[in-house]
């Protein structure tokens, strides 16, 4: 017997039964309404806007797919997208390698685990505005901490104009992004490591597996679920990144740090090309969806489900 909503032994009128069938929908209605209006509706209504030439003030004009044609033929689109790809490769590699390494160390360390975990996770609760403004100064070529440290260590050759040099700026932003999140990813890897049963390592040792072999054949496969989570979060973050480049470099110098989300914002709210900006949003949406799908496919394909 499925659990009924009505108490037993009560004569159930048809009306009440109908109501009880509807009532679950009443429970989810408020949440669904807010989500539907403010998230789903813009996701759909923007499609129509992407077919318009519109500055937000004058009467919009229907121009079919011209915005999309312009996006595809604009060399800026490719350049901006490549910045996202560069950003994704840099942040994902940096975050995953560093946080996995630290998680393994922390998993072995018995003393001070809470201290390390709390300290390394701290930037997660800080706003990107605080982090971005702070690092703008740390990167200051003359008086910033980074260059001052490098000079002090006798590494003067590494001194850079971190945010002003078009060849370096994007990598500097990648460093800041890694700085803010490596503690977060480490905590997730740590939870994954703690869920691996010791017996697996014992069995591997009995079979004569070296530490490195244990890592490759026990740790990594067992970490696959948390690995997927960590990589997905980082990849998504890299393709949607806005705050760091907007605050620290405004996309400059010479568009070296211009990324899709920033490009969309600037086209929309600096140049008032609403239709074009809406169309760009859908290009980003398609790319993000494709990247997520490909990445999930790649990460689960080697899966030998037994």
């Amino acid at each position: 017997m499925p659990a009924t909503i009505m108490p037993k032994n009560e004569p159930v009128s048809a009306r009440r039964r109908r109501l009880s069938k509807l009532s679950p929908y009443l429970w989810i209605l408020p949440a669904l309404a807010v989500y539907g209006v403010f998230k789903l509706y813009p996701l759909v209504s923007g499609l129509q806007m992407s077919l318009l030439r519109w500055d937000g003030i004058e009467e919009p004009r229907y121009i079919g797919l011209r915005n999309f044609e312009k996006i595809l033929s604009d060399p800026m689109t490719g350049a901006v997208l490549m910045n996202n790809v560069h950003y994704a490769v840099g942040t994902v590699l940096g975050k995953i390698v560093l946080s996995l390494f630290l998680a393994i160390l922390l998993h072995q360390a018995l003393k001070g685990r809470t201290f390390y975990r709390t300290s390394l996770f701290m930037p997660v609760v800080m706003s990107f505005v605080v982090v971005g403004v702070l690092w703008s100064w740390l990167f200051n070529p003359q008086f910033g901490l980074i260059n001052s440290l490098l000079r002090g260590l006798g590494l003067g050759v590494l001194v850079q104009d971190w945010l002003g040099d078009a060849a370096v700026a994007l990598n500097s932003l990648i460093l800041v992004d890694i700085w803010k999140w490596y503690g977060f990813h480490m905590v997730i890897f740590l939870a994954g490591l703690q869920s691996i049963p010791d017996e697996l390592y014992e069995a591997a040792r009995i079979d004569g597996a070296s530490v490195w072999q244990q890592f490759l054949h026990v740790t990594l496969p067992m970490l696959q679920p948390v690995m997927i989570v960590n990589v997905t979060i980082s990849v998504m973050g890299a393709f949607n990144v806005f705050d760091i480049p907007f605050i620290m470099t405004a996309g400059g110098p010479a568009n070296a740090t211009n990324v899709m989300a920033l490009h969309i914002y600037i086209r929309g709210f600096k140049f008032y090309r609403f239709g074009f900006s809406a169309a760009l949003s859908y290009v980003l949406l398609v790319i993000v969806t494709l990247v997520a799908a490909i990445q999930l496919k790649l990460m689960t394909s080697g899966d030998n489900t037994d």
Partner: protein, 290 residues
């Protein structure tokens, strides 16, 4: 013979012991290095907020000669941080209230009732919650509803982003609550909803805490939505206030900037350190199950 074997075993054990100590030392050295990389810039920021402009340039690494408290007075007045703190507080608490109320009720329905489209609705959440919202239709919607430049608009914008994950958190929690509890309450004459309010919610502290922390930290640190939706100075939250102040005075008054950054982040960091277990659990929920 047996003595020799004994000592050999002992030295082998000692070797293992020393190797263990060395590995442990190496582990701690690396962990401490990466902890310093995180913590030092934040400590430095707080230190810098007490320096004079001259000291920021001439005395990069040292302590300030005497704490320049004037920086904080300037930050409070010039950047109008009092008002900004109030705005951030109103919006963050408002968002927490909206998200906890709406998603606990919905999460309960998904956990305890079976109804026709529940699977499809949850799938829609899964597939759209990560999708970047096109900002133009989003902005136009808020303009048409006259919700730009208002607390309510900003609260709803933030809440709409937080609702799906919060529903999943509540759903998972409510599933773990035995059905006998609500059955008993209903036998006592409670309606389904009063049973939820009076019996289930009071024991749902962990889920409420998780969702509240997740939403509060997100709302407090949210920058993009106020940038898009807030126009007037009076309604700017902290993040936007700092950014505007940084653009206006950034080149000249870094000492005051560091005071604004410290005011903006120290309260959150202190609360975080005090409640770190809750914060880490809350902010990683959705990434780590359970």
């Amino acid at each position: 013979m047996s003595a020799a074997r004994f000592s050999g075993q002992e030295s082998r054990q000692q070797g293992i012991h020393w190797r263990h100590v060395l590995v442990s030392l190496f582990n701690h050295a690396i962990l401490i290095l990466f902890t310093i990389i995180i913590v030092y810039p934040v400590l430095w920021m707080i230190l810098a907020s007490f320096k004079t402009p001259g000291e920021l340039i001439s005395n990069i690494w040292g302590l300030p000669a005497e704490p320049a408290l004037q920086n904080y007075a300037d930050a409070w007045e010039k950047a109008r941080l009092g008002r900004a703190l109030l705005n951030s507080g109103i919006v963050s608490i408002g968002a927490v209230l909206v998200v906890v109320c709406l998603s606990s009720i919905a999460g309960y329905a998904f956990a305890k009732f079976s109804f026709r489209f529940s699977g499809i609705i949850l799938l829609v959440f899964v597939f759209t919650m990560q999708a970047p919202v096109p900002i133009i239709p989003f902005y136009v919607l808020f303009v048409r509803l006259k919700l730009t430049d208002s607390y309510l608009g900003l609260i709803l914008a933030i809440a709409s982003g937080a609702i799906p994950l919060s529903i999943f958190i509540f759903q998972a929690f409510f599933r773990s609550i035995p059905n006998e509890l609500r059955e008993a309450a209903k036998i006592d004459g409670c309606s389904e909803f009063t049973a939820f309010l009076r019996v289930v919610m009071p024991i749902s502290g962990p889920a409420v805490a998780t969702v509240s922390i997740l939403t509060f930290v997100g709302a407090w640190n949210e920058y993009f939505l106020p940038l898009l939706l807030i126009r007037s100075d009076e309604l700017r939250p902290l993040t936007l206030t700092i950014q505007v102040f940084f653009l206006q005075f950034g080149r000249a008054e870094w000492n005051v900037i560091f005071a604004t950054l410290s005011i903006a982040s120290i309260p959150m960091i202190v609360i975080y350190v005090l409640l770190q277990r809750w914060f880490i659990r809350g902010l990683t929920s959705g990434s780590i199950k359970g």
